[in-house]
Symmetry: C2
Subunit: 480 residues, 2 copies
């Protein structure tokens, strides 16, 4: 006889499709021996992407600091011992540069990887993040507003930061957060969980998911007419789930809009390296010296690093608002909130440090680092292109916007009567093993149907399964 | 001109003294060049405790899997090359056992350390946790209820699990959670954050913080008379902040009480290795086959491992309740909640695996592992004893209960007029650099004053600073 309990409705009702019924069914099929192809989630190393060697070599030394001395001895010995040279290759040795980076990191962190750090992360890592942001945005030459290490918080991935921000900003049940539709369901779930109002805005799909003022104003006005106080606007760029890359023009519209209405911007910029030739314009650069609260999120999980499992990330604040009726700043409360969990994990912190501090040009690891980076990004782009090409052979399957992030979000122009994109994705899974997520899991304009596919499976696998998907599609949509 | 924003009152008002004003002041003093002694937090490696070598050696290999081959080659070479034997010691090599454990872990996890895992953690780690629990509680011989890997969730430390549970259990503003006073402020903060009611119960300080039914009933009755629906009772054993170890008798009282009132038990058992000769009785064993929902928390941060920075931990559920008005189980919703953050960090997961799977007897790393474990626990106990002894030289300073966890929570029997334990701790910090936390940060019976000290500084340091504390104390409390 089990006890029955009433639980928090908000928690009960929140949804998270990326790990919802379709991936659950995929797990069942896998347990039954079927080969499944997990395109439901941006998890590159689960599909064979190799970690960047440089990152991991440093990380391993941080865990066993006394190895640094041993590796130095080994290098010395290698020079003098023919026996050693016979059995080990030079590349099996750890380069002096890696040894120095690890030593320097350990000297800076002071208490090793096993101690709690400050709740916002060690200061030297936050300084490295600030340098990275300034270099990226051209603010290091004096041409912009510099990033402040005290306004940077290291977090377990970017998800944790998004949850903290939404928990703080939703002060009562009429407070709303504007989110794009489609959106990454972390945002709808976090808003639901704190009992706030999800305020949808609709990027223009056929214009490559572009934004303009009329789209944003319409959404804001509708929220106002329902009595909702909009507190912030979330922008995901490059976008998840659409993969679209926001033009500078679209991004400027968001900034102007936020300023006019005193909104904070939550800029989810975790795909900022997944551009495939396009230009990334950070919200920090566009906000410049205007007094708009901006929270920019980044993560070690995406880009060319794909270190999802290590849960590294940060949020950078600009113009943090003051808190009504108190003498506290937004940063004070964010820090208190983070401190209840003590700190983010140190391996994720170390990877965040490495992400923002690539090996210097001409250093020993540099060439291999660039090769690995280039290979990953080239491979991702080729895979995205292969899948887009296959869509052209599928009836009424259209995919808008350039290829960015790690996702495509094609529109199913045609479905059999009484079926939904959920049914399509479930059948696709059952027929081919390809696991995608239905568009309704991300939200979509009423009357449209989509799916999200993460373009991560190895090219060999795609060559084999895409024809099956094409056959499945043309058979499925022409049923009934 | 800064924007002003209204934020979530619950977040604004929650308090977390462990990283509150006193530690903040300590950081300022440190920046000004003063030596401070951080006894405010259970963060052993920040005070020089060394990590367990075995754990770190495995962890380093998991990050760079191709090193496993290299280490094997090195071992072979070491045997044949006198030059190598001259420069390296045998202990600089990685033992075959460690290489095997790392290989096996990588084979099991399948996708390395860089991929998201299942949201509850990889199954093989949950199985290892279940075996550990069964062995600890004597359920592996068929003498108890076995732990179910499907009811185990790996989390970022134990704090994350506590927050998830409280977020779920507080369904409306009249829902209450019983917590001991004094308590670890994670619990009060989590309850405050979700807008629930903190229901205090008061272990009997002078009886070594023991519990009996009358204490629990009194608290329950009072809550009822205020219209509060109590959902769960939190027990921390060994306790934080008091360090007290619950007798089997006290723990049985809690179990009977929970059953009678259909309450869930949240058993924070993260200090289960910090016993110093006392016996640990798990709530899982006491609950046995009775249908009482139990959530037991454990972590890699404490014990003899002290891997705080890596944020590893788990929660084990027993008799998870069904959720009112749905066909969902508590575990389904917990899993959904965890899935929004994708998964806990893999380094923390690996340490959790290692924590529950110590090296086998007679394996190469075994002896060193036992030596390190014994040395850490012996040192902790000696430090706790040194501080307790010093209390005897302080006027009206009494400390109840046996020594457990990593904390002492002495009662300040005497304070100058108009001063509080907060003032005492702040002055202690300013005068001696010793950073403690005032008892009011954890809650305490009205009219009493305490402080919590984590007994972690090196013995040499304690020998030097304890006399200063004694002098400070006897001067301070006899003022005015």
């Amino acid at each position: 006889m089990s006890v029955r309990v009433k639980v928090n409705r908000n928690v009960l009702e929140m949804e998270y499709a990326v790990r919802g019924p379709i991936p659950k069914r995929a797990a069942e099929l896998r347990d039954q021996g079927m080969r499944t192809i997990p395109c439901n989630i941006g998890n590159p190393q689960a599909l064979g992407q190799q970690p960047i060697s440089y990152y991991r070599e440093v990380l391993a030394l941080l865990e066993v600091p006394n190895r640094i001395q041993r590796e130095k001895k080994l290098r010395d010995l290698y020079r003098s011992s023919a026996a050693l040279r016979e059995r080990l290759e030079e590349k099996d040795l750890v380069s002096p540069y890696v040894l120095d980076v690890a030593s320097e990191f350990l000297a800076q962190i002071g208490t090793g990887m096993g101690a709690y750090t400050d709740s916002n992360g060690p200061r030297f890592i936050r300084e490295a993040v600030a340098h990275f942001i300034d270099a990226r945005d051209g603010a290091d030459g004096g041409g912009g507003v510099k990033s402040d290490p005290n306004s940077i918080f290291l977090t377990n991935g970017a998800s944790e930061a998004a949850k903290y921000l939404i928990e703080m900003l939703v002060a009562d049940r009429n407070d709303g957060i504007m989110i794009p539709i489609p959106q990454y369901p972390l945002y709808s779930a976090a808003i639901r969980k704190v009992g706030g109002v999800q305020v949808n805005y609709y990027p223009d799909e056929e214009a490559g998911w572009a934004l303009d003022r009329s789209i944003l104003d319409e959404s804001f006005k509708q929220a106002g007419s329902r009595g909702v106080t909009v507190k912030a606007i979330v922008v995901i760029n490059p976008a998840n789930p659409t993969g679209a890359i926001l033009s500078e023009e679209s991004a400027r519209e968001v900034v102007d809009f936020a300023q006019e209405h005193d909104l904070a911007i939550i800029a989810d910029e975790v795909y900022q390296e997944n551009l495939y030739g396009a230009e990334f314009v950070s919200f920090a650069r566009l906000v410049g010296d205007r007094p708009i609260p901006l929270f920019s999120l980044h993560s070690t999980s995406k880009g060319f690093y794909g270190e999802c499992g290590h849960r590294g990330g940060y949020v950078e604040m600009r113009n943090p608002p003051l808190i009504e009726d108190t003498d506290q700043s937004f940063g004070d409360v964010l820090l208190k909130q983070a401190s209840v969990s003590l700190c983010s994990n140190t391996a994720g912190q170390a990877l965040t440090f490495l992400m923002v501090s690539p090996p210097e040009e001409h250093s020993e690891p540099y060439e291999q680092f660039i090769e690995e980076r280039t290979a990953v990004l080239k491979d991702l782009y080729e895979k995205g292109t292969m899948i887009r090409e296959a869509f052209k052979q599928m009836d009424d399957m259209e995919c808008f916007g350039r290829t960015g992030a790690m996702y495509l979000f094609p529109r199913l122009g045609k479905l059999p009567p009484e079926t939904t994109d959920f049914d399509y994705c479930m059948s696709l899974l059952e027929s081919t093993g390809i696991c995608t997520v239905n568009g309704s899991g991300f939200g979509q304009r009423e009357g449209t149907s989509h799916l999200r596919v993460a373009f991560l499976p190895p090219q060999e696998m795609l060559k084999e399964v895409m024809p099956k998907w094409i056959d499945f599609h043309n058979e499925y949509v022409n049923r009934g």
